[in-house]
């Protein structure tokens, strides 16, 4: 159950700010896109399983189509061959979208400091939350999702069309 936000209550009505309500709705129904490439993907399967159950947090419906997803969970090593595909998937997602880099390989390349591995996905797409670990325990992945929920809950409705956000995307060469 989610706590109701602060507001003015009365018989048959409840008044609060639009930001709060929309934030609450977004945070509690994030549809993730599990971009699972390697070992962290198996820990994600454990997180989705009945023991750790990510579905409690509103992430019931895994969307494998980027057009219908809010949260891009990049789990596993991204090689340089895979980079353009990740960027294409990110660009296909509609605003507002969040990115969580699960695992050491997605955050910074991990133990694979080699010629073929991208040293962190923040080289090609903007990342909101990093979850370190190799692989991170399901509790850590859930913690990461909860941080995304905090971000979603407190985000201003105007952020995605603001100048600052546009500059952020331009720095990654994303239109």
């Amino acid at each position: 159950m989610v706590e109701a936000p602060d507001g003015i209550e009365g018989q048959g009505f409840f008044a609060t700010s639009l930001d709060t309500v929309i934030g609450m709705a977004r945070a509690n129904s994030l549809w993730p896109l599990p971009f699972a490439t390697s070992c962290c993907g198996i820990e994600f399967m454990a997180t989705m399983g009945s023991n750790y159950d990510l579905a409690r947090f509103g992430a019931e419906r895994m969307s494998f189509s980027p057009r219908q997803a809010d949260l891009l969970m990049v789990m596993g090593t991204i090689a340089k061959k895979m980079g353009p595909i990740l960027k294409q998937v990110y660009e296909q997602m509609a605003e507002p979208k969040w990115v969580i880099a699960v695992g050491a390989c997605a955050s910074s390349g991990g133990i694979f400091d080699t010629y073929s591995v991208l040293q962190g996905i923040d080289k090609i797409i903007p990342v909101d939350v990093y979850v370190p670990g190799c692989p991170p325990r399901p509790e850590q992945i859930i913690d990461g999702v909860m941080r995304i929920q905090d971000l979603a809950r407190s985000e201003s409705l105007r952020r995605r069309s603001s100048e600052e956000y546009k500059q952020l995307l331009a720095s990654y060469n994303i239109e």
Binding site: K80, K81, S108, D113, T114, Y115, S116, Q119, G120
Partner: protein
């Protein structure tokens, strides 16, 4: 007659003579070194001869030994006869300036990708291979990464300072 090291070497030397350059027992495997120009015939013989019958190609990989002049790149075949449970290793050495050797993919279908991987990593050209292009690395890569002269890391990366990584 049971398939063992002596029997195998006898048969190979009887059939191919000079193309068998040497043999050595290393740990529990017999290493047989062959002339790279004759590798297709030797492999075909090993596969189709009724007494040898090596129906299973366990592995095909490459090695780079930069100190051996004119024999820097090696192709190593591990063969296994499942019925007699006998394994041995076959090696062919190639000069680095012209590393080409006949393909084994028409003898064992599994050699196809194993040869592509050896080409990708070492630059060994397999003649008459149906589709010899890079398999694991990006297609436009210009060098052959597992050769000893190339570094492990991507040297153009800026976020990792080599001083702190002991390099």
């Amino acid at each position: 007659m049971a398939l063992n090291n002596e029997f195998l070497l006898e048969k190979l030397q009887a059939q191919f003579g000079a193309a068998i350059l040497g043999s050595e027992q290393v740990s529990d495997y017999l290493n047989v070194e062959i002339d790279a120009a004759k590798n297709a015939e030797i492999l075909r013989f090993l596969r189709s001869d009724a007494e040898l019958n090596f129906m299973y190609l366990t592995d095909l990989c490459g090695v780079h030994m930069p100190d051996q002049t004119n024999r820097e790149l090696g192709v190593v075949y591990h063969l296994h006869n499942l019925e007699e449970n006998y394994r041995f290793r076959l090696k062919a050495w190639l000069p680095i300036l012209d590393p080409s050797i006949e393909t084994a993919s028409d003898i064992w279908a599994g050699a196809n990708w194993m040869e592509r991987e050896t080409f990708d990593f070492y630059g060994v050209i397999f003649k008459n291979h149906p589709n010899l292009k890079r398999i694991l690395n990006v297609d436009h890569m210009e060098f052959f990464p597992l050769r000893k002269e190339f570094p492990l890391e991507d040297t153009t990366r800026e976020d990792k300072d080599d001083r702190f990584f002991g390099r």
